[in-house]
Subunit: 314 residues, 2 copies
């Protein structure tokens, strides 16, 4: 099942069921994705059984599948990215043996083609290509072994980041507020079965292709998460129940051979330059710059659609 | 104007307008506080003009005034608390000259008399007495000088904290997830004018009285915030627009003479014991323990009502 949300002037938009080839849609039996997530048992099967898609789908009319959420918890599960960042910035984070995770802004997620207004180019504007899952209501204390049962949908995310502010906020120990403005989501959320065996071990084992101003920037694969989504969900739910519609993120997709496959954020490329050449050559984004992100299945299909966004003066 | 929310089985409850003596209520022209905050210009004056309160108010029936919010950003604006914690735990946080703030769980706020289920007594269960403001929609980049115009309501908060997890999460740089389960709110949210000159310089200059299992634990005053709420709002809005209903917290209320006036969280008392006696004598909360919090105006009235909560096995 493939779900999208049509912009209709309301904060939550209107839920659509998308055809297998992502060119057409049908209306859903409940008005919003949040409501479907809260009433999954009552309506998901009906949505899944839809086979008639009467209307043409224009991807430009889509909001994020979940345009706002009650909770967004983002991990940092790719060790190759984390280790490089630590090395470059001389940070020695406490090694807890636990997943890294922060609580992010969840009151809005940009749609796949939305411009992103930010206050200044001086803040180190960066993208981060990620995968994420949207869960049903998860009880407090749910163990990792049971956590995949709560995964309703898989999504593709662009986690906008302001690097000039990020290091300072990390050093306070309080985590990020100013350094993490709203994220964006690709237009189509899919149930895990849509991904075939690309969804395995609680990981999205698809390539994530990122282009910046029309040039290939990276195409790492989502497989090598140090912790799978089941472990991220269990971590999040240790001391709290998660409401239906909680979104859990993987962190920047990164592979150990990033010198060959490239990166899904500028900070990682700059880190490689610092290690290899002594200084970063690549600058951060400028107003007007375009980033494009697309996850690819082995057969070449892009199950989530595409993210294509410009940063603009806010 | 004094606003409360009646538990009615829905996540957002039903908005009430409360009489000046907090014994009676009238129904509001919009069903929920979130809706009133989104349509403040259209409905706030009507609510303010209500003078007939037909029904008796039972505080035990109240939810948090805002039972869930799109955003909760908590500061740590009392330097006497921060400096003691740094000393005790050997932390040297980066001094940025900026307010400290983290993004917290906002999908639920407990009502004033709700039990708080937590997974284990071993996690260092602690309360934190705070003040907070609920704002209207704040544009990105709003300066501190203009930020008080967006304060719609003032609230009293109990920020539940799990100290055994907090230090470790700080050291990751990612901030708190497991260490910060849901907060609670006292039953009455008030417009700033209700506080008279206790609301000044963007601060709630009222005593906050805290009792633990019937014994006085502390009664510091809210005045000495290093940053006022206007500065906290501006900090929060530097790189993001804040949606109507965003809640901004002061952090644990603390006074420099905490040895005389006591504390609003156990961690602070333990810190004093460590400094003065070499070790903490006071333990954290046990299941069944009761914490009571009440802010007091100079005339003895408690404008927000009272928080009175037990921690229980989750």
């Amino acid at each position: 099942m493939r779900l999208s949300t049509l912009r209709d002037g309301t904060p939550d938009g209107r839920l659509l069921i998308v055809s297998p080839d992502a060119t057409r849609f049908a209306s859903a039996p409940v008005p919003t994705l949040q409501q479907l997530l809260e009433q999954w048992e009552a309506h998901a099967a009906t949505c899944r059984d839809v086979s008639d898609f009467p209307d043409a789908l224009d991807p430009q009319t889509l909001a994020a599948p979940l345009p706002r959420a009650w909770q967004w918890l983002d991990g940092s599960a790719y060790d190759s990215h984390g280790a490089l960042m630590d090395q470059v910035f001389g940070i020695t984070p406490e090694r807890t043996g636990l997943p890294l995770m922060y609580q992010g802004l969840s009151d809005r997620f940009y749609g796949p083609f939305d411009d992103v207004p930010l206050p200044s180019e001086e803040l180190g504007i960066d993208f981060e290509g990620e995968f994420g899952v949207i869960v049903g209501a998860v009880p407090m204390g749910t163990p990792a072994e049971a956590a995949l049962d709560y995964v309703r949908l898989v999504v593709q995310i662009n986690d906008w980041s302001l690097r000039a502010l990020a290091g300072l906020e990390m050093k306070t120990g309080f985590g990020w507020v100013q350094a993490k403005p709203a994220c964006a989501m690709a237009g189509i959320a899919v149930t895990p079965d849509e991904l075939g065996d690309v969804w395995r071990d609680g990981r999205v084992c698809a390539d994530l292709r990122v282009d910046w101003n029309g040039e290939r920037f990276g195409q790492p694969n989502g497989a090598p998460m140090a912790f799978g989504f089941h472990e991220l969900i269990a971590h999040a739910a240790r001391t709290r129940a998660l409401p239906a519609g909680t979104i859990i993120g993987s962190g920047t997709v990164s592979n150990a051979n990033f010198r060959e496959v490239g990166s899904t954020c500028i900070a990682e490329r700059r880190g490689i330059e610092i290690v290899d050449e002594g200084a970063a050559r690549t600058g951060f984004m400028r107003f007007g710059d375009l980033v494009r992100m697309e996850a690819l299945l082995p057969d070449g299909r892009a199950p989530f659609g595409v993210i294509e966004q410009r940063v603009v003066q806010g």
